[in-house]
Amino acid sequence: MEELQRQYQRARLFAEVTLKIRQSLHLNEILQTTVVEVQRILNTDRVLIYQVFADKTGKTISEAVLPDYKTILDMEFPEEVFPKTYQDLYSKGRVQAIADVHAPAAGLTDCLVDFVDQFSVQAKLIVPIVLNLGLRSADTPAENGGNQLWGLLIAHHCQAPRQWTEFEVDLMQQLADQIGIAIAHGQLMENLETIVAQRTAELRQVNQNLQQEIADRVQAEDSLRQNEEQLRLITDTLPVLIAYVDHQERYRFNNAAFKIWLGKSPETMRGKRLRQIWGGATYNRIRPWVKKALAGETVHYENEICRFDQTICSVDVTYIPHQDEKTGKIKGFFALTSDISDRKAIERMKDEFISVVSHELRTPLTSIHSSLKLLSTGQLGTLSPDGQQILGIADDNTDRLVRLVNNVLDLQRIESGDVTMDRQACNASDLMVKATEAMQAMAQQYEVQLLTQPLSIPLWVDPDYIVQALTNLLSNAIKFSAPGTTVTLSVQEGSAMPPSPMALPPPATAQGRRSNARQRESGQSASDKSNSSTAKSQKCDPQKLELGDLKSRKTGSMVRFCVQDQGQGIPKNKLESIFERFHQVDSSDARKKGGTGLGLTICRKIIDQHDGEIWAESTEGEGSTFIFTLPLWSPE
């Protein structure tokens, strides 16, 4: 009956404690509950849990003690009272039930007795808390077949020695097991919680990053929108047409100026083709340029467009191709169109002014020119030698003024586009003969031998202008030749290109050779006296022709004319600038030669208009060669 009673009590108590233990997942709470409950059930003075750490040290982590006795919470048992050998025994499940610590039968060492005396311990019951961890971490070494001594559940009786009953020992043992299980669960839980906490922190970080990214994007979009608005503001404010056209010739961007010029808003233009916007006639005019831009070439041209108020305006147009950086394909082009009507009007006024002035100058010049020539015959009275000299000066300078007026007018006409080259099939030989004949008299006057080798080569040029260019060059060559030297006009089929500026030797340094520096220009008038001159053949320098052959592969066949003299030559650094208008290599020399400073500029304009090229080559002290190319005539 008593036994039944005890069993019942034990079961009830055990159930109570286990329930309390299981109600909590927090280890500290479990341990505290255990010590309090065990102390109550056993009706003893002190119950404590001593935890043993991995390094074999330990500490009292929970305690339930009556107020009359000293607490040993947080205390570490010295090694001499709790040696490692004890720990090994406990881990194997040793239970110590000591009824009287002072009884010799208990077998306690003196130091241990002294130690327990400090806490008034009379009897003690010690059961190990052993973890049997299925789940084992690296820092908890597997000992005793997976059993690890986690700590000790200890009951102290202080008021008197106490004989621990089997029931009490069993109870303690079973509770220690329960604690072991709870700790294992708790550790697992803590482990899980750590993982959960880690994951939560990670998620929080990811979330934070996402939020930052969203904020960044919003900011980027804002600044993009701001940039776009700014760009739109700028392009809309500019009084020029700005557009982007894709490779299908569709508008992808237009600024507000389109609305003002064409009466079409950028919104309605987007996606429309060039032909739709400009109409067939204008489109056909601009088409070649569009094709070039879409082939990757930057183009620049002038055009006339009709605005929606029906006014016609002159425009300057630039297309800049847009190339895909990765593929290299042309994605479209940027188009910039500006109104140059005012500039054109001023240019027209200038051209007209020059033209009128030049014409108006000719009539009085005719009178002066002829009057001086009449005076110089001596038939109207004889002048003193000084008077003759002065008359000569007037006569020479009238001639020069005549040439200047002619050249200014020529240049203005060619530049303004008033004259177009009237191209026709003709023969190089005829042009050379014509030019040479015109210059024979002048050559004779300067005692210069004029050699020519006419070759029959078909050309597609304006013969009058080419003869003008040839006579300009011949006149220059003669003017700058010493008596007894030779000027040669030759022609060669093939083609030529000017030497690259990079290939030129460095410009000659100024060494006080002013007399060598000369101005090259045209002189249109030859002496009226005519004499015969010898004609011999001489070819262009073959080395120079090789240079040209390089280009012929690219540009097709050309004809190359050379005018070569044996004069003093031109400094290297002047070879290009002599083609500029009124350029002077040496002003005193130019005056002496009676030039106008426009001859070579006119030559270049004429050759440009024929899609040819003109340049000069020279070796100082040996002579100069002026070379130009012209397209070969072909039936196509």
């Binding site: 030049s358 014409h359 108006e360 000719r362 009539t363 009085p364 010049l365 005719t366 009178s367 020119h369 002829s370 009057s371 020539k373 009449l374 015959t377 038939q379 109207l380 005549v402 007026v405 002619n406 007018l409 020529d410 006409r413 004259v419 177009t420 009237d422 304006d462 009058d464 202008y465 003008q468 009226d528």
Partner: protein, 124 residues
């Protein structure tokens, strides 16, 4: 070269004078003068010159209009006409030549060479 009678039609008196002196001195030709197209047509009809030198730029009736009348009138249509012009451009010369004139001489010219130039043009 036989002495010729030349009619110069030009509103510039200075030109008339230098042409007159130049042709006389260089070739001994006689020169008649007219200050306008209308006067020139009248002179041409009355005097029947061997050659007419006709300035292009004149007020009222210009050289081309004068030439048109000269070439339409039976009394004057046979008289050769050479235009004197300040327009020296090759393309302009071509346009003038297409009108049917016998020749074009551009200003400025040397009046002493004029007789030779006229003779060359007209194959005298």
């Amino acid at each position: 070269m036989n002495p010729k009678r030349v009619l110069i039609i030009d509103d510039e008196e200075a030109i008339q004078t230098v042409v007159k002196f130049g042709l006389k001195m260089a070739a001994g030709w006689d020169v008649l003068t007219a200050n306008s197209g209308m006067e020139g047509i009248y002179q041409a009809q009355v005097e029947q010159p061997d050659i007419i030198l006709l300035d292009v730029m004149m007020p009222e009736m210009d050289g081309l209009a004068t030439f048109k009348k000269l070439s339409q009138a039976p009394e004057t249509r046979a008289i050769p006409v050479i235009l004197l012009t300040a327009k020296a451009q090759a393309s302009e010369k071509r346009i003038f030549q297409k009108t049917g004139v016998n020749g074009v001489i551009t200003k400025p010219f040397n009046s002493l060479n004029l007789a030779k130039e006229i003779s060359r043009i007209l194959n005298w």
